[in-house]
Amino acid sequence: MFATIELRNPLVAIVLFAFFGSALPFPVWAQNAGPPESTTWNSLKGDVFEQKSIEAANGIVTIDAPKRAEDAAIVPVDLHFKTDATSGRIKAVTLIVDENPSPVAAVFKFGPDAGVTHLATRLRVNAYSYVRAIAETEDGKLHMTETYVKASGGCSAPAMKNTDEALANLGKMKLRVFPAKTTGLASMTRATEMQLMIRHPNNSGLQMDQVTRYYIPAHFIQGLTVSQGDRLIMSMEGGISISEDPNFRFEFDAKPGEDIKVEAADTEGKKFRDEWPLESSGLQESKPRI
């Protein structure tokens, strides 16, 4: 028999520990089987988007995630974007895992002519939870889509597997370029698919220092910018719900011949940067120039 887990123990008290000195109650775990009411989201919405109204996405943004989080620490999530003349392009996308201790996983912002049509990343999912994407289009409207992810069974936990390895290679980056799946829109640009990987524990600060008995502060990538030449492709403000070794695969309109530049900063103030020439569309790993 395979026993799925459902986190519904109301006695389990979860609180948010705020670095700003205040503590907020964390919404109770989903009470029912199957995709439940978006209770958590309803109480979260105002904190993230204030009073702005949010429409159904109607295909402007779509989200794919496994129904069951096989590995709670690494749940692949795929976003596809499809806009038209009425809505205008997508300016920003917010990715939220309702039941995580830090629900806002990331906010991505796209450059005006970046043409990002697809973005995949990996999330930690702590419990049965909705994972939702809210896209903001140029007309200022918000469009939301969501999917329900069940926590995996067994000893899978949303924690680091190999802490020392992640720390030993902190900030190391890797960029891969894939053959374009779609053809370019204009002669000077063409859709290119890329994958950016950054070594970082992106940890939640859950561990207690065994000597001092204080919790080790959270340590994660909080800002990331990907550009080509002087052109912004996308930026990210991130949190601890992004998996360790943050990983982004995205499709955008590339300009041939211009370098890809990545800059990232973590919560300890460390800055990481790298730069790669954009080679022809072969499937090879781009090596840093220097």
């Binding site: 395979f2 830090s102 067994g154």
Partner: protein, 319 residues
């Protein structure tokens, strides 16, 4: 940044530990055992119990992994406490059918709940809990999650007594424990099954308790480093043991043949994942088919293979 402070809090929030929530234990009948755990003597003074290859549930009291104990002239060492306090107590009862010498050590082979949810049962014995130097860190970041996530499968009655009890004695590298004319060699390994794997070798009978570095029958689970585990197999197979007690599988098992099945699984999984990465297949697609040819060889394949593939993909992408 244009958002309010609470939003920063939402992003940087830290999940506070909620372990050790102690409910008054219901005086009603507990599930499971009435008697001692049915252990088997596998060598002179060495006893082990073979867990069932299954998920932990209230039906099986979490008794899914192998646990054991070794009796010296002065004292007893226990290897893993099992998946519930019920199992831990039944293990203590089994020890008491063999000897009344004190239980000096409870060795935790690693962080997984099936191996240490029984720790609290040993508190009254005065046993010193022994673990890998990374075990406290691993339990700090997972303990409260484990207690929540097993709640439904195990049920309130079984979970009521379970607490995360970290080791009091830490092993770095290799160390000997003496039970009175009987020495055990403990070895803390580099990341493989987890980043806190500890093995126990009884020098007298050359019995090797591998913890979850060795799986037989039950599909291995990846929670450390696939590459580390593959690299470790050669070292492990060089250990001159007479027999082994794997973390999961027959008690006892011939050594080093006990490693053959998992070695093949790792090779197949690594090969499939490497090919997917080279072909540019995204993780979400690659994990659906990787390792599939190994399905007939294992129990719990559906429960763990995609998870293993996911972890392997994230690791091998950095090669």
């Amino acid at each position: 940044m244009s958002y309010a402070t609470r939003r920063d809090v939402l992003k940087t929030g830290v999940l506070f530990a909620c372990c050790g929530v102690s409910h008054a234990r219901l005086a009603m009948a507990q599930p499971g055992h009435s008697g001692p755990l049915p252990v088997k003597q596998i060598a002179d003074g060495v006893f082990a119990f073979a867990g069932t290859p299954a998920m932990m549930t209230d039906q099986n009291d979490g008794e899914i992994c192998n646990v054991g104990f070794i009796i010296g002239d002065e004292a007893v060492a226990v290897i893993d406490s099992g998946g519930s306090v019920v199992e831990g107590k039944a293990l203590i009862a089994a020890i008491r059918t063999q000897t009344d010498r004190p239980i000096r050590y409870l060795i935790n082979t690693h962080m997984h709940p099936d191996h240490l949810f029984g720790n609290a049962a040993f508190e009254s014995t005065g046993a010193i809990i022994v673990g890998h130097h990374n075990l406290p860190r691993a339990l700090e970041s997972r303990g409260s999650y484990y207690l929540q996530s097993y709640h439904d499968a195990m049920g309130s009655d079984l979970m009521a007594d379970i607490r995360i009890v970290p080791p009091a004695k830490i092993i770095t590298g290799e160390e000997e424990l003496d039970l009175g004319n009987r020495k055990l060699s403990l070895k803390a390994w580099k990341p493989a099954h987890t980043d806190n794997d500890l093995s126990v070798f009884d020098q007298h009978t050359k019995t090797f308790f591998t913890g979850d570095l060795c799986f037989i029958g039950h599909l291995p689970t990846m929670d450390g480093s696939l590459l580390g585990w593959i690299a470790l197999l050669a070292t492990l197979s060089g250990i001159k043991a007479e027999v082994a007690v794997p973390g999961h599988g027959p008690v006892s098992s011939p050594w080093p043949q006990a490693l053959e099945a998992e070695s093949q699984y790792f090779d197949v999984l690594a090969r499939d994942i490497r090919k997917a990465i080279a072909d540019g297949v995204p993780m979400s697609d690659a994990v659906k088919s990787a390792g599939e040819s190994e399905r007939p060889n294992w129990k719990l394949f559906d429960e763990y293979n995609q998870r293993n593939a996911t972890a392997a993909f994230a690791e091998l992408e950095w090669e």
